[in-house]
């Protein structure tokens, strides 16, 4: 399973768990317009670390929260390559 697929699957699972309506996920969709709120996004980051072993935000550098779905996926892909 690719990183992208894992991220999109996790978003769908979290939306279902939190009773949120998930928008069709496209690369240019803003994260905060996806239907996931801040709690959902926080759970997403935690779950992705559990599943992928990737934590782009825990490096100690002030990594900005990506604006779009595409940016989010690319951040995780880039972090995976570096680690």
């Amino acid at each position: 399973m690719t990183i992208r697929t894992t991220i999109l699957d996790q978003m769908a699972n979290i939306a279902k768990q939190q009773h949120k309506t998930l928008q069709p996920l496209t690369d240019d969709l803003a994260l905060l317009d996806s239907g996931l709120d801040s709690l959902c996004l926080a759970i997403l980051v935690a779950n992705l670390d559990d599943e992928l072993g990737i934590d782009p935000f825990g490096s100690g550098d002030d990594v900005a929260v990506p604006a779009t779905i595409g940016d989010f996926v690319r951040l995780y892909e880039a972090t995976a390559v570096r680690s």
Partner: protein
């Protein structure tokens, strides 16, 4: 069973101080016609013991370890139902608050939370066994509570079963979640070296590292231990844990989360359905059958907890003693003022980020008592008849009876000047409750969202109705919003309906205000009628808002820009505090709000209830 009341030994009439002699005996209280739940203190930790009836314990008891922050608030009601269900099935069950959380005593300034919480879980188990006659225990935990329960098992030899509900299996990812939530809330990241402050969680860097090292795949479990994992989704990590524990001889049962979703759902609107614990209970009955034993005839622990500056005593009151409140009093002779602190939304009485507790203990330090309550069907209060176990709605359920009962209870024990405080929906109910309850003489309304709630209204609709058109107009230039419209994701129709209602209401209100000012009509709107009625009684009201709060729009609709319609009323203050947000989410915001409210209370004259202030904060917008 009725609850005995405090006996007041009042000093000379008119004196500023009155002694309150605490001879309160809470007694056992029936739940919703079923198991008993009794408030208890274990050391400095507050908790509830649920038993099948007044005299029956069990040879197997259960300790329920809650989550933190939003996990805790959203699950409180559901975990009460779980404790009831366990007790009804013959397993005495205890819920409790870790040190520095819920109603428990604050952690000392040098107290390390993670180790203190683990110690408190052990103390709770020991107390539970000593009280119920249990020789074995079930540890059940939700989210990080499951983590704590699992860690406790490693150090005990009396745990028969471990039930993990959506467990945080790795401390590192749990910390990440909290840090991300904090970051998104604040809009900026804080380095891990600076610790973490989020809701009631205050971790320094050392605690963060300690928690981050926890990995339940490395848990050492006794062979034969029964473990159930109820997971929100299948995961490699969950499978690894199950494999590791099975490899040690534990008997692992893995299940999904179907029916348990209400535990972790932030439901603002509907009454919802209670969680379905049948699979969990069936597993428990199957793996650890229990038999009843008499509750041991130990003296119940102290009914109050006294710490530096305050004494807290759980109270049951109201119809059938179904309502719960925590009375917090100064630990020295004090005056006759008490503040009722209502629920924020549907969160339990201790409040988001433990605001209710922080406010109550701050008031006690100032010599003011308080009663933080759960409205019927919220927190630890039983629901109304026919809806005993239902999480009652945020706005539609009237709280007038609950508020009057709280005021009556405080008056019974000698408080003559009674104020009430509420945030958001709590402020809405505070205002409405005060109209019906003549004993309330001062209102502290934080971010009051609306003056009137119609049956069938939704939070979204009211939000859109009160939002200024300008906020929508500025989005017309945003290409992303147009994309949402094109996809059908942005409900333009609903916005138009809500804004149309707003426009019509504004026109109507403007004309009515003009007619009222000219003396052609008496007050017409709900808000103006309410304030006129309160003014007649001399009730003092503080409207405190965060900047850009939607409630400011509701105020403007009623009283004009900057609440001009309230100017000149000495009993009313209207204040917008720049550093606040809607739920007072940071410690600095809570301190600022508490300071403003305490100052308003401090200006309350001691002679007569609700007399015109004559001094203090005149009405009119004030900002700092």
């Amino acid at each position: 069973m009725p609850v005995a009341r405090d006996i007041i030994a009042a000093q000379a009439a008119g004196a500023q101080a009155s002694n309150l002699v605490d001879s309160h005996v809470p007694g056992l209280v029936a739940g919703a016609g079923g198991p008993f739940m009794r408030p208890v203190w274990v050391g400095a930790c507050f908790g509830w013991l649920h038993t099948k009836d007044a005299t029956t314990g069990g040879d197997v008891a259960a300790l329920i370890c809650p989550g933190l922050a939003r996990d805790r608030l959203d699950a409180h009601h559901s975990l009460r139902l779980l404790a009831d269900a366990l007790a009804d099935a013959g397993y005495p069950a205890m819920r409790f608050d870790y040190p520095g959380t819920g109603d428990s005593a604050d952690l000392q300034s040098d107290g390390e939370p993670w180790q203190n919480w683990q110690r408190s879980a052990h103390a709770a188990v020991d107390w539970l066994r000593a009280t119920t006659g249990a020789t074995r225990v079930i540890l059940a935990g939700l989210r990080v509570g499951a983590t704590l329960a699992a860690l406790a098992v490693e150090q005990r030899d009396d745990v028969a079963a471990l039930a993990l509900l959506a467990p945080a299996l790795r401390g590192r990812s749990y910390i990440q979640q909290l840090q991300m939530e904090a970051r998104l809330q604040r809009g900026e990241a804080a380095p891990r070296s600076e610790g973490l402050e989020f809701h009631e969680v205050q971790f320094d860097a050392a605690t963060i590292n300690r928690i981050a090292e926890v990995d339940l795949r490395e848990l050492k479990l006794p062979p034969g231990l029964h473990v159930a994992m109820f997971m929100q989704a299948a995961s490699k990590l969950g499978n690894d844990c199950a494999d590791a524990w099975s490899g040690q001889g534990a008997k692992v049962f893995s299940a999904g989360f179907a029916g348990l979703e209400p535990l972790l759902r932030h439901n603002e609107e509907t009454e919802g359905t209670p969680p379905d614990f049948s699979e969990l209970l069936a597993w428990i009955r199957r793996t650890v059958p229990a038999k009843p034993v008499p509750l041991l005839p130990l003296a119940w622990p102290e009914e109050s907890l006294a710490q530096l500056g305050w004494i807290e005593t759980p109270q049951r009151f109201g119809p059938g003693d179904g309502l719960f409140g925590m009375l917090c009093r100064p630990d020295r002779p004090h005056g006759d003022m008490a503040v009722i602190i209502g629920n924020i939304g549907r969160d339990p009485h201790y409040g988001v980020a433990r605001f209710g507790v922080e406010f109550a203990r701050h008031l006690a330090a100032l010599g003011i008592a308080s009663l933080r309550i759960d409205f019927a069907g919220l927190g630890d209060s039983i629901g109304p008849p026919g809806k005993a176990d239902v999480l009652t709605s945020m706005f539609e359920t009237s709280r007038d009876v609950d508020i009057s009962a709280a005021a009556a209870m405080l008056a019974d024990i000698g408080y003559r000047r009674i104020a009430m405080q509420g945030i958001c929906a709590g402020a809405y109910h505070t205002l409405r409750g005060a109209l019906a309850e003549p004993r309330i003489g001062t209102l502290l309304l934080v971010n009051l969202p609306v003056f009137e709630w119609h049956a069938g209204d939704t939070v979204d609709f009211v939000y859109r109705r009160t939002m200024k058109p300008g906020r929508y107009l500025t989005r017309l230039g945003n290409i992303d919003d147009w994309k949402r419209v094109a996809r059908g994701d942005f409900h333009v129709g609903e916005v138009i309906v809500a804004q149309s209602a707003r426009i019509w209401q504004r026109l109507r209100e403007g004309m009515l205000r003009l007619a009222e000012r000219q003396g052609w009509l008496p007050p017409q709107s709900v808000g103006r009628l309410a304030m006129a009625a309160l003014a007649q009684r001399g009730v003092r009201t503080l409207f405190l808002f965060s900047p850009d709060d939607n409630g400011i729009d509701a105020m403007e609709q009623e009283f004009g820009r900057d609440a001009v319609g309230l100017r000149g009323r000495a009993q009313v203050a209207y204040h917008i505090e720049p550093q606040l947000d809607h739920l007072l989410s940071t410690p600095a915001m809570r301190r600022a709000a508490i300071q403003i409210m305490a100052q308003f209370l401090g200006d309350w004259p001691t002679s007569g209830t609700g007399a015109a202030a004559g001094h203090g904060h005149p009405a009119g917008r004030s900002t700092r």
